[in-house]
Symmetry: C2
């Protein structure tokens, strides 16, 4: 066993809560569950072991994987899983992240997506690793609820999924989010943390602007994406 | 010079962008500007030095403070400032954070507050340090735009600022955010990251709920606060 690297076939859910999410929502990808010698016996462990039996996932005892994979002192369970996607579908609403660069941000966006029931995520590369243990952790397990597709250009995505309503979020957007109507199936499109979307997106669909004061240059990416999800879905709740 | 500790009288804006924010928006608190030997000569440096002269802030050259204070390799300017507040005012709208525990989250909320022009922040202790360099960095300098007051209980805050409209954000809130009207001057009140607000807040003002799916337990704290700020202020932009 080695430290996680992006090219690995498997990744890891660090901690018992994330491992439960893995076994409940993506059991088909679960490969193994590691248990540390300091893991307390009791109801949680019993439930975990039962779920492993149900999902046919082998359990391995020992502390070595924890020294290699986890920096946290209170991590006593690790779920290993195959890095595999359920693809996004054409009928669903999408969030499209163009060149996102931060694992914590991507995970936070995943959590908001699961929260607002927009469960199809499109990633345009180059991008941060959607299965990095840091992404998984920041998502609080929401990554296991999502359908994900990865494209190496926005053009390839829009060819594969044509006839959708595209809403790029740009500072030069013509429509204010407060007044925008999102027609399904829609794609909410966000750019990189530092650079935003390139100007070519001004020609795409309906550009949306989240109005804010001049005190800041821009909103934090997961904040902008989550506000957009709230505004786009609020009729659904 | 030592590593930053909470009890210190001064804190630090790490990086040239944050230091500009300090000198522009809170020059009265700026104490010193440190410049690394690797800082490139040119327009940015000239502008910075000019601003230091205008604000009467001494400049010190040398690499030692950077080895002590910054973990980032590309940090070549540090602004030292006195940890001091402009107090919140009764006429303004407030964000009230009850026992926030994460510096990055607090900084992100500050950035959204500056973005949505709700610039008065109340902190109920125990709480993370609002002047921790990590908070300052996550705020992207927004901390220098804010008025901040700290109380050691919510009761003391509500005694000091009575007659306001209080909106605690609670999972058991009766009013959905999508339908809520916020009457000024209002206080948007948020609990700790892990535990939320205690049940005693069910008796306070009008409880607000941000509806989300059962896929997640709760929204991330800065996400919830920023969505609330967007919803409360959208008539203002």
């Amino acid at each position: 066993m080695k430290r996680y690297r992006r090219e690995d076939e498997n990744s890891y859910a660090l901690g018992i809560t994330l491992t439960f999410e893995l076994l409940k929502y993506a059991p088909e990808y679960a490969r193994k569950v590691y248990i540390h010698s300091k893991m307390q016996e009791g109801e949680s462990l019993d439930k975990l072991l039962m779920l492993c039996v149900e999902c046919n996932v082998p359990v391995e005892y020992g502390d070595k994987p924890f020294n290699i994979l986890s920096q946290k002192e209170n991590c006593f369970v690790i779920g290993e899983f195959k890095k595999s996607h359920r693809d996004v579908t054409g009928n669903a609403n999408h969030v499209v992240l163009v060149n996102p660069s931060n694992a914590g941000n991507m995970g936070t966006i995943m959590r908001s997506m699961a929260g607002f029931n927009v469960t199809d995520l499109v990633i345009i590369t180059p991008a941060v690793d959607e299965f990095d243990p840091k992404t998984v952790r920041a998502s609080m397990g929401a990554v296991f609820h999502l359908n994900i597709s990865v494209f190496d250009s926005f053009e390839k995505y829009s060819e594969a999924f044509h006839g959708r309503n595209l809403y790029p979020f740009v500072l030069k957007g013509k429509k204010s989010l407060s007044e925008a109507e999102f027609v399904k199936p829609y794609s909410l499109i966000f750019g990189n943390e530092a650079t935003g979307l390139p100007d070519s997106f001004l020609e795409v669909g309906t550009g949306i602007l989240i109005r804010h004061s001049a005190n800041i240059d821009s909103l934090n990416l997961p904040i902008a994406a989550s506000i957009a999800l709230f505004a786009a879905t609020k009729g659904d709740f």
